[in-house]
């Protein structure tokens, strides 16, 4: 209590003091410093200094006073454009700084995924007018193209201008992929090398034609992502890394354990991996997540903690392609998805390696998760087929039993009422509570019975039906036999 009192006392003193002018003056005389601190001239000077500091800190880096900027209005030069690439290097809060993002989506027989994909697109919070969409439709036999056009037109016709996207480009190019698009076709070990080299070519075609000088960021996204935060671009962008990926998992049916890491292409290099790489030929491609190549690399996917901080970063060497945010300068300066064996990898994993080689930061977020759709593998499909058959069989069995029950009712006489009457009489001798009762048991052919059972005495086989009866049952039989 006493301490609070001493704390209050100076305040008390000051307010008392200010009531009378002479006292204030004398206080100022006693302590001339305190009075001088806020003279108007000084405060204005401090303000000006602060303002100058602010201007220096915030404005000068954006103003290039010493470089020349030409302008090409169409009245002076037709079809001529000037861009200073420094204006488009990407900022951590690009959604406030008008950073343009080129959103690259490779599509192949993806018509069934498009409704879900455009659902995500509409919800995206990054300003739509700053997003340019680039689609590469390749080797599609379904109506990917038609559906894509319909969805795009719908979104661009939206009455709310904030829903509409910036520039949209659709590219068509067939690469003659021979590998099937089923889950096991795509994920089988032997298919990995050639498949990934083809995928890499497709990705390179898309970036090379999609990136314009004014793009600051490139976002790669697979169409078959099921659950993703609407803020995914901002969430990845504010880390201000050259290349960044989230963790990718997939939901599973209950009978498979409900969830599983999906993207095993995001990893950190290990000694085992490097050693394996030196032992392989020039054109070999190491693919992660297959027993054939045991690299013992730490995978981003397995480091997930559902309660971990989603901001946690992990340095990576290889990355997966489900959702990559990268600064556009990474691609502008030449990084791409090698369609050949680059340091014994191809496509996105080699992209990660190449970025590292070029000195860029490559980072993954272990606790920030997006969810890929679940596509069953061949084994899963077999199991699911079996489950479906089993379900059908059970249903059929139910029906059959209905019929059987009917047939039984008609074909057999119901003797349960009679049995209720006879039961006490038949079971009379088995009532053990009445121990005073004298029960006589015929023991004569008991030995024969036992040997017949073991099959040693063929003589007695005729006396009993040829059935496998276990001794306990035999005992019961004897016990319940009324004398």
């Amino acid at each position: 209590m006493s301490s609070t009192h001493t704390l209050q006392s100076p305040k008390q003193f000051r307010s008392d003091d200010s009531f009378e002018r002479p006292l204030t003056k004398s206080a100022a005389q006693i302590n001339p410093k305190s009075a001088k601190i806020f003279t108007p001239a000084k405060s204005i000077l401090i303000l000006v200094a602060l303002l100058v500091c602010y201007i220096i800190v915030y404005i000068t880096p954006n103003l290039e006073l010493f470089t020349y900027t030409p302008s090409f209005p169409s009245s002076e030069a037709q079809d001529t454009y000037f861009y200073d690439l420094k204006d488009y290097t990407g900022t951590p809060n690009g959604w406030q700084n008008q950073d343009r993002v080129v959103f690259c989506v490779p599509l192949r027989d993806a018509a069934s995924h498009l409704p879900m994909f455009f659902g995500h697109m509409k919800n995206m919070t990054y300003p739509h007018n700053l997003i340019d969409l680039a689609f590469l439709v390749s080797d599609s036999s379904d109506d990917t193209m038609g559906m894509l056009n319909n969805y795009l037109r719908e979104i661009q016709d939206d009455p709310d201008p904030e829903m509409r996207f910036g520039n949209i480009e659709i590219f068509e190019k067939d690469f003659g992929q021979s590998i099937g698009q089923g889950f096991s076709d795509r994920h089988g070990f032997s298919a990995q090398g050639p498949r990934r080299k083809l995928m890499a070519r497709a990705r390179n075609w898309l970036t090379s034609v999609a990136i314009k000088p004014y793009h600051s960021w490139v976002y790669w996204r697979d169409v078959d992502v099921e659950t993703i935060p609407p803020t995914v671009i901002e969430d990845l962008m504010h880390h201000d890394k050259d290349v960044i990926v989230p963790n990718v998992w997939r939901p599973l049916p209950d009978w498979l354990g409900s969830q599983q890491p999906y993207d095993l292409n995001s990893w950190q290099e290990s000694d085992g991996g490097l050693q394996l790489a030196t032992s392989l030929g020039e054109d070999a491609v190491i693919v992660e997540g297959y027993v054939e190549y045991a690299t013992w690399r730490p995978h981003l996917a397995y480091l997930r903690d559902p309660y971990g901080d989603p901001e946690t970063e992990m340095v990576l060497d290889g990355i997966g392609g489900v959702s990559i945010l990268s600064k556009a300068s990474v691609f502008k300066n030449g990084a791409h998805f090698p369609a050949f064996s680059f340091e014994k990898h191809a496509e996105t994993e080699a992209f990660g390696k190449m970025c590292k080689r070029m000195g860029y930061s490559v980072v993954g977020l272990p606790h920030y998760v997006i969810w890929h759709i679940y596509e069953p593998s061949n084994d899963d499909l077999k199991h699911m087929e079996w489950m479906a058959q089993e379900e059908e069989r059970l249903l059929k069995e139910k029906d059959t039993y209905k019929v059987y029950n009917k047939v039984y009712k008609h074909g057999f006489l119901d003797v349960s009422a009679e049995w209720e009457d006879e039961k006490p009489l038949i079971l009379r001798n088995t009532d053990s509570s009445r121990s005073d009762r004298k029960i006589q048991v015929e023991w004569e052919d008991v030995d024969d019975f036992g040997t017949d059972f073991s099959g040693n005495s063929p003589a007695s086989t005729t006396s009993l039906p040829e059935e496998k009866v276990d001794p306990a049952v035999a005992d019961d039989f004897l016990d319940t036999n009324p004398v």
Partner: protein
Amino acid sequence: MAILKHPLVGQIRRKPAKYIAPFIGLVVLFYLVFGGSSSYKKPNSPYNYKKYSKDHNDLIPRNLPADHISHYDLNKLASTPMAAYNKERVLILTPMANFLDEYWNNLLRLNYPRELIELGFIVPRTPEGDQALKKLEKAVKKIQNPENTKEAKFVKVTILRQDTESLKSQLEKDRHAFKVQKERRSQMATTRNSLLFTTIGPYTSWVLWLDADIVESPPTLIQDLVAHDKPVIAANCYQRYMNPETKEMAIRPYDFNNWIESDEGLRIASTLSDDEIIVEGYAEIATYRPLMGHFYDAAGDVNTEMQLDGVGGTCLMVKADVHRDGAMFPNFPFYHLIETEGFAKMAKRLGYEVFGLPNYLVYHFNE
């Protein structure tokens, strides 16, 4: 009224600036740091956004046809020897540190139809770059001016300023010093990539790399190179000079980056660590590689082709597909090669063949 008698009010009345100035200052500061424009929140996002305004000075034009949806069928895009007949677009790319009138005049002399030629330039972030940019602006404005009806216009001209650092000095003797080669060529590679990957479009069939100091070439340069129908093909770059002995103009080979790999070259490469490079044309590393510069035969057939393993970028015709497949200019040691030589290696890794024309000459500026 009691509030007016409050001593604080009295003090403010006596010395208003003392109290009001800091207050106003704080408000102004707060506005400068946090305000400036209206920001708002979205219901499903923790971030602040700026209000969308229709009249915002956007980079892409508003209200493009077809709701901004454009469609390109790249299956129909081809690179054929009959490029002009098939109306194939050629993209001429030039990293430009100095603007030479001779270069520009030579460029204008090329007789490939200009409505099929797209130009791309990138200037370094240096005072020299500024000079080049000013001259280039003037030259471009002359030819692309809508009032200029006498000359055909190029279909598109893109001029970029590099965002990355470049070595300060571009003087001839510094430029070729062995020690700075790796750094210089790494930056050059980055520059080339920036130019390439921002200008190559869905309609580009061919890419011609033409250095800013190529001052003389046959006017049919594009047609001649395209006619060979090779994925990558390099012309032989020579230089005219005054022979001090004969006092006559003579020619000498200039670009030594066009070469065939030698056993010695491979042997040296195998002894190097991963981040070391081999550069051609320096006594420090004698690779004994056959250089295309030395294969020129004045009497020989101008169409003679030779297969190469390394190329230079002075005058190089590339099918756009090669670049789109990913062949770029490595700015890091790639098989101990860098920039254009690394590009040749990468194109080969992607399954393309690389050729040179030893008897087909273009001339480099003599400083």
